[in-house]
């Protein structure tokens, strides 16, 4: 469904953030992107919806080459890609409902959006999504009144109301406590499964990634270093991605976390 071909990004400063990255993602697959800071995870995600303009290479979504699109074509393509951000990136002075509805901006004209006159179907969908993420009662609260975990739930609802085929998720849990982090990751993965969405989740918490996803890609200095199932992340692989460190602890921790998780769920 999504294909990245020789995707390269060189910043004006000369930093090569992505070096001819080749990835193919089938529909409905949830994929974690791991790697040290500065490996190009964020750039990769932003090159897919062209928030960052790739230098060369192509991004092909359902047979359409996104890198070649005009600005109106790009807007249409962006509608099919929902994005979830690290620090939620909600418009803080708007209400929760307005934030969720802003996910429909690609579908409605300027004046409808400006006057907040959304079609009834959009409003119903917004209520359903808020109910699904457990924030229906907060609909008319301002976004800056919510806690971190609640804001991220609004961010998820905003991405889903776009009716996307693909979710681009940039460090969804980096600003959250461990418990909320898991809840959010679980929610994202459940929703992807419910709606058959593919997702690229950019995450630095390896243990958390292993817990939830079907496939892991390790990025190092802008190049793919590992691509495989989560249990293929051996200490050797992690050393290749992140550098020398005692990885046994991290991997063991995963099992403990899983146990703890199951007992908590039970």
């Amino acid at each position: 469904m999504l294909e990245l071909k020789k995707l390269t990004k060189t910043y004006a400063t000369g930093d090569q953030a992505l070096k001819a990255v080749e990835v193919e993602i089938p529909a409905g697959q949830v994929l974690a992107l791991i790697g040290p800071s500065g490996a190009g995870k964020s750039t990769l995600i932003r090159c897919i919806n062209r928030l960052v303009e790739p230098t060369s290479g192509s991004v092909i979504l359902n047979g359409e080459n996104i890198t070649k699109l005009s600005s109106s074509g790009l807007r249409r393509a962006r509608r099919t890609m929902g994005m979830i951000f690290q620090e939620y990136a909600l418009v803080e002075r708007l209400t929760v409902m307005e934030n969720v509805l802003s996910g429909r901006l690609g579908y409605v004209g300027f004046w409808r959006a400006f006057l907040r006159k959304y079609p009834q179907s959009d409003i119903d969908e917004a209520y359903r999504l808020l109910d699904r993420v457990g924030l229906l009662a907060m609909a008319d609260k301002r976004a800056d009144e919510l806690s971190g975990g609640q804001r991220q739930r609004v961010g998820i609802a905003r991405a889903l109301i776009q009716d996307p085929k693909l979710l681009l998720v940039d460090e969804p849990t980096a600003s959250l406590d461990p418990k909320t982090s898991r809840q959010i990751m679980r929610l994202i993965c459940e929703l992807c499964a419910e709606r058959g969405l593919a997702a690229i989740i950019n995450i630095h918490d390896v243990a958390l990634a292993q817990m939830f996803v079907q496939r892991v890609i390790g990025l190092q200095l802008g190049a793919v270093q590992f691509d495989g199932p989560p249990d293929g992340l051996t200490p050797e692989v992690l050393t290749a991605i992140y550098g020398e460190e005692d990885w046994q602890a991290t991997i063991e921790e995963v099992d403990e976390d899983d146990l703890e998780n199951e007992s908590a769920a039970a």
Binding site: T95, M97, I123, Y127
Partner: protein, 276 residues
């Protein structure tokens, strides 16, 4: 229906119902009353302006001449007047800023509630309030009436205005300062002056320097109009130029003012970046 009850409504009741952004002013009576009053006021206000369209259309020609004069300013024919006026403006600016700062510092200390005793605080705040409430031009008129025409009136006016501005902001800065640092110095058994010197001054100095330069900039701009009421500076020359419709000379003066203000702003940016 108010938001308070809406938040208890479940999903099924909401589906199919219209959604409206909650209003900034929740009380509808108050909202429409405010809107109505605003519209009526604007209607009355706009209508109260009498426009003599014949005079305006005639004026547009002159306006265009003035715009053209900006492209071709005349610095030479009244250069002596311009130079003397400018020098006088600059001198008034510098002298009044220096004196203003010197007087502002003790008054600013006195107007800070956390370091001054109540009687001193009240007196200093009263001085600040009077200085801020009186427009520079009005003070200048009174000063000219009392001290006669000339730069002395302008100098006193701007010194007085500087006190209101600087003392207030300095006092606010002192009131916002870190208590811990000041207390630590007090704990060493320092005298009051030592305490001000070691505990307060280092904390407020960068801001004081920044504000002083900002005030220098304001004083220069103000000094350019004091001449209109006879308090010295370039304003008198400018007034004469407008009275005689010598737009090219007026444009020259305005350009010099703009250039000096730009230079001062640039300078203040550099200095503020260095001290902070």
């Amino acid at each position: 229906m108010s938001t308070a009850t809406l938040s208890d409504v479940g999903l099924d009741d909401r589906l199919g119902r219209a959604w409206k952004k909650p209003h900034f002013i929740t009380n509808p009576v108050l909202r429409y009353a405010l809107l109505g009053v605003t519209i009526i006021y604007l209607y009355l206000a706009v209508n109260s302006i009498e426009v003599n369209w014949a005079r305006v259309s005639e004026g547009l020609v002159r306006g265009w001449e003035f715009v053209k004069a900006f492209g071709n300013p005349d610095f030479t024919s009244r250069w002596t007047d311009i130079r003397e006026g400018m020098i006088e403006s600059i001198i008034i600016t510098i002298a009044s800023t220096v004196v203003g700062i010197a007087i502002s510092i003790p008054i600013g200390l006195g107007a800070a509630r956390n370091i001054a005793p109540l009687p001193v605080y009240i007196i200093c705040r009263a001085i600040v309030a009077i200085s801020r409430a009186l427009n520079e031009i009005i003070v200048a008129i009174l000063m000219v009436a009392i001290f006669g025409f000339g730069p002395l009136a302008g100098f006193i006016t701007l010194s007085f205005a500087t006190i209101g501005f600087l003392s207030k902001l300095l006092a606010e800065e002192i009131e916002d300062m870190s208590r811990v640092q000041a207390e630590a110095i007090q704990a060493t058994g320092s005298s009051w002056l030592q305490w001000i010197n070691y505990g307060v001054q280092p904390q407020v100095m960068p801001r004081l320097i920044g504000l002083s330069i900002y005030r220098l900039d304001i004083n220069f701009r103000e000094s350019a109009v004091l001449g209109l009421v006879g308090a010295g500076g370039i304003g008198a020359t400018l007034n004469t130029a407008f009275d005689r419709y010598e737009f090219d000379t007026a444009a020259a003066i305005l350009i010099i003012i703009i250039v000096i203000v730009m230079a001062l702003e640039y300078l203040s940016g550099v200095i503020r970046a260095r001290v902070q």
